[in-house]
Subunit: 264 residues, 2 copies
């Protein structure tokens, strides 16, 4: 028994590719259909109502392509729209907030920092999840609006990125956090600069591997595991730009790229 339907993954742009890479590493036998909603990117500075509207449209597009499970590989959309997506879709939906929070709660000693977009931090989603899991943890969160543009510019390990990381993350270093949640799927791309800014002793939590483990368990429990493999990438705008960055993250697998219209 195997289910050949693809796993659907969506993000506002390229960040979710880090989650796709983690999924492909853990579940190479699955097929993946990735949708980057680049025509409406970035989600992280937009209001929850707008993010919900965009997320529902992207999800219904993927559902129409017969995906068996949806991964919301965007923290902003996971924080704002997960409940709306679960209500709207007949398939399992996995966000990135809870898997990341569970990983952090399993490893943290006393103080957890959270970095993300303005929307994700304002939503308080990680704080609520961490407090539900381990009420005694001290949690502090900070928005880092320049991290996404720096990642999109390809300045992944650039001196300017190190400077920006030091400025944004200095309060965490002073507070003495032991764990830092990378609450935006772009941020693992900036790992060297972020690690240097908070110090080598701080554990960085990237939700990609945690999401992959959760998806594996879900597929097994519902008898949905597939065979086949392969990655199909679709974007709503700017295919050339996306393709260039996708190759950096995914390697040679980023060849099959299509431009689609969500009819807005």
């Amino acid at each position: 028994m195997s289910d050949p339907r693809p796993i659907g993954i969506f993000d506002s742009g390229i960040g979710g590719l880090t989650v796709l890479a983690a999924l492909r590493d853990r579940l190479p036998g699955e097929s993946y259909l990735y949708l980057g909603d680049t025509a409406r990117l970035p989600y992280g500075t937009k209001s929850p109502e707008t993010v919900i509207r965009y997320a529902l449209r992207a999800a219904s597009f993927l559902a129409a392509h017969d995906v068996k499970l949806l991964v919301v590989a965007c923290n902003t959309a996971s924080a704002a729209a997960l409940e709306a997506l679960e209500e709207a879709l007949p398939i399992p939906v996995v966000g990135v907030v809870w898997p990341g929070a569970r990983t952090a709660a399993a490893h943290a000693r006393a103080r957890v920092g959270v970095v993300g977009t303005e929307s994700t931090v304002a939503s308080g989603a990680y704080r609520r999840a961490l407090t539900a899991l381990r009420p005694e943890l001290a949690v502090s969160a900070r928005a880092c609006p320049l991290f996404v543009p720096l990642a999109e510019e390809g300045w992944l390990d650039h001196p300017v990125t190190h400077d920006v990381a030091r400025i944004y993350l200095a309060p965490f270093a002073e507070e003495g956090i032991d764990t830092l949640i990378l609450g935006c799927t772009h941020y693992p791309l900036l790992r060297p600069a972020i690690q240097a800014a908070v110090g080598a002793g701080v554990e960085l939590v990237d939700s990609g591997p945690a999401v992959a483990a959760e998806v594996e368990a879900l597929l097994a429990s519902r008898d949905l595991a597939g065979t086949g493999g392969g990655v199909r990438l679709q974007v709503t705008d700017g295919a050339a730009r996306f393709s260039r960055i996708a190759r950096v993250i995914l390697g040679a697998h980023a060849s099959d790229l299509e431009l689609v219209d969500l009819a807005d």
Copy 2:
């Protein structure tokens, strides 16, 4: 005879407020209706087709509010969509590319640099305008994708902004440009860092004042000049964030802010 209808101004976000400020300085007797299409911001990384679609929708929204003239206070939209807007609307349309190019052509000695978003630079709009006006000018252009996020972050005269400006603009300094067109309406907000990076001898051209002069001439020639004054600001998302930045650019006048839906 006076025409009390407002002047419509639109931009993808906050950048066009620098053009609005220049208009208000020169034509304080006019009323202004500003639309920031923040739900779809930024335009500068998107394809021409997408920018045209967004620009037409924003313009038809303003036209429905009975504006007498439309200022496209966004270089990306001016470069991609001006012809489409002129065809679609029964009122005069003023973009920012030609006024900026005319100002530069009037002042330049031999070498002009152009900075803008990826879309604006890829369009070649400034190069074409400058070459049409003064074919002997040497023109070089460079996209500066981090300038908009830095301006939106409020790091206007920040050390990081100075570093980024030095990195982006070093080739211009080596080429020995005498004039630099700020081909994005956000960029005047970063003037100190940009000026420092290219050197005090380089003339910076901000299209805001040039647009204001062109609008004044147009209103006079068509007998459309108004009386009244007042600024009305509308955004398609994130009113709180916009309001904070608008106050920095416009001062106390940014109070009357509304959230509108372009129904996408």
